[in-house]
Amino acid sequence: MVDSSMTDSAKVSPGAGPSYAGWIGKLSNSPIYAATIGLVANSRMARLVLLLAIPLVWIVTLHIGPIYQMARISVMDNYPPAPGGTVYTLDNYRLFFQEPLYFMPFLRSIVFAVCVTATTLVVVYPVAYYVAKVVKPENRTRALLLLLTPFWAGELIRTFSVIMFLANRGAVNVFLREIGFIDRPIIMLYNYFSLSFGVIYLISLFMLLPLYSAIEKIPTSLVDAAADLGAGPWARFRRVILPLSRDGIISGCSLVYLTSIGVFAAPLLLGGPNSTIFPEIIASLFHGSSDKWPEGAAFSILMLAVSLSTVGLFMRVVGGRTVKLM
């Protein structure tokens, strides 16, 4: 290809390869260029290595690496390692099964995550359907942006906004008192209600987007055809829309479940004395002053294993054989 920055000799003999004037020419002829950009430009293998190295390093250092480190600490007897050397043991895992103290919050976390997932699905599905099917196509992006606006604020800010909403002197209680509906504040904060409300508010986006994406793809003609054949609204929903939005339901439920089973900041700020869930127990092991990192790491690995297994089972049960677990 000939362009204006090329030298005259290059324009005359393009087959000899590009040769440029000025600083570009000097750069392209320099040994540093040849060793770096030139190597990538001229060598397919170098391009492949560069392409693979960046995501590989990312995945290893930020995803697999921390899990490996956690698993390694979970089988140590002390962390940081004691001067005499490290003893590897499974006692940290045995502790979970031996102490009923840890089992109840664990079970509570699973039940909480299941309930939050189911509630989020029920609450968000109609919203996703409305935006995907009822709102005119030219307004859908605007409607979606409107729903996404609260998520532009950080998670902690949104959690504090829930506190300001539900507190004894929060927006709800102040409003109800102003209109004379109540004399004393309704206790809405620091219990399962505020915890569930807050967590659903924080993670509903993870349900909304997959559902919206799945429902939007359902051809309207199928729904119209079902109506023409005599199917009522409930039948159309149950036999056409719901099955065709299954992928969205699976993705949304998986994301919401995995997020809510490990949620930590919201329970700390919104939960009460009777809503302690497992991540808080893990955190207390890491934050306590008696060096219980190996126990905390073991509990984290256990929770990771159980959450992934639960999600895998859910995907296989709901998704059927079409869903691959890996």
Binding site: M45, V49, L101, I163, A167, P273, I281, H287, S289
Partner: protein, 366 residues
């Protein structure tokens, strides 16, 4: 063009490149450590912004603050960083020093490098809590205690921790579980600081379990367990709670801000603590750290600013004369009550930490 075939050699080259990228920080970090910066791990509002701005302007040293709200968390973070700490100064209470020193996390303070050392209040200059084996390990900063805090609009006065278990205030109380376990032990007539339990594990465990069971039985009183001073402040402002166990600093701040709050020390007594700034072992910017400590001690106005922001009493000399009447009143208690403060000891910390941490988890999970 050659087709790419995955070989052992190409894989090894890729892994070597990845290792190089991973190892880069340990090469870059020592070089960056020579830059003009000081990293401080401390509690919220301990270091006044006005002082930070002036210090940065005068010395050109950038001050970076990393917040903590718990001694245990601070210890764990420092222990995990090992010989390559990312902080230069930490904020350790006197009774926790031995734990940090045993783990080789703190460097003895060279008071000769702090020209303004003589500007500390006489009571704190040679504070025994900060001196171990003849070496000083911290610059005393702020003194506080765990007090009974109540909203005076909705509660009656009480000279006993019993008010925390009064049915009238069901779901209207709050406390830090680990702190309140010690206080409950004191309330029940046992040693919440574990000083007398050295070598008496069974007795200590019995006392701990008695307090734990009592708190679990009275769980219905609690609106929320909290960790940070700002949480209890927020709960009082929102009127989500009427009574709490809280550190004197956050409570005094509420009083200074004009909220209907009273801070007192009940007849069963309470525990006190002394915060200090400490230089960590292998601090990457030790020189800058000493300059910061020296500048901080230079004037009582800085101590007063720290008191105004945190609510805790300053360990610097002359701060009382700088505070106004309202500020002094917020932190002043009758002598009779002040006599009830027992400062946390550094003895038998491991037993205390182990038992209290376990009991705290049991109270929360119970």
């Amino acid at each position: 063009m050659r087709d790419f075939t995955q070989t052992r050699r190409s894989t090894l080259k890729m892994l070597a490149a990845g290792t190089g990228i991973l190892a880069a920080p340990s090469i870059i970090r020592p070089a960056m450590a020579q830059s003009k910066v000081v990293n401080i791990t401390t509690y919220d509002k301990f270091v006044p912004q006005s002082f930070i701005d002036q210090f940065q302007k005068d010395t050109g040293i950038e001050v970076r603050i990393r917040l903590t709200d718990d001694q245990g968390k601070q210890y764990n973070l420092l222990a995990a960083e090992g010989n390559a700490p990312s902080t230069d100064i930490v904020t350790v209470t006197g009774h926790r020093l031995s734990q940090f020193i045993t783990s080789n996390l703190l460097a003895p303070l060279d008071t000769g490098r702090i020209g303004n050392w003589n500007k500390l209040a006489p009571a704190y200059a040679g504070a025994p809590q900060l001196t171990i084996d003849g070496k000083t390990y911290g610059v005393p900063l702020l003194a506080g205690f765990e007090g009974l805090v109540r909203n005076t609009d909705y509660t009656k006065a009480s000279d006993s921790w019993e008010i925390m278990f009064d049915e009238q205030y069901k779901e209207l109380t709050s406390y830090i579980v680990s702190d309140f376990l010690s206080i409950t032990m004191r309330y029940q007539g046992t040693d919440g600081d574990y000083v007398t339990y050295e070598g008496k594990d069974a007795e200590a465990l019995e006392a701990t379990n008695k307090a734990r069971d009592f708190l679990i039985k009275n769980k219905g009183q609690v609106r929320k367990y909290y960790d940070a001073g700002s949480e209890v402040q927020q709960m009082f402002v929102n009127e989500d709670i009427y009574v709490a166990q809280a550190w004197s600093g956050p409570a005094a701040k509420l009083i200074m801000d004009g909220h209907p709050i009273e801070l007192s020390i009940p007849k069963e007594g309470t525990y006190g603590f002394l915060y200090s700034f400490n230089v960590v072992n292998n601090a990457p910017n030790a020189e800058a750290a000493y300059k910061f400590l020296d500048a901080m001690l230079s004037s009582p106005e800085i101590g007063a600013a720290m008191t105004r922001q945190s609510g805790f009493a300053s360990a610097f000399a002359g701060v009382d004369t700088v505070l106004d009447e309202k500020e002094r009143a917020a932190m002043t208690l009758p002598d009779e009550q002040l006599q009830r403060i027992q400062f946390f000891s550094s003895k038998n910390r491991k037993m205390k930490n182990d038992m209290i941490d376990k009991a705290s988890a049991e109270v929360k999970a119970g």
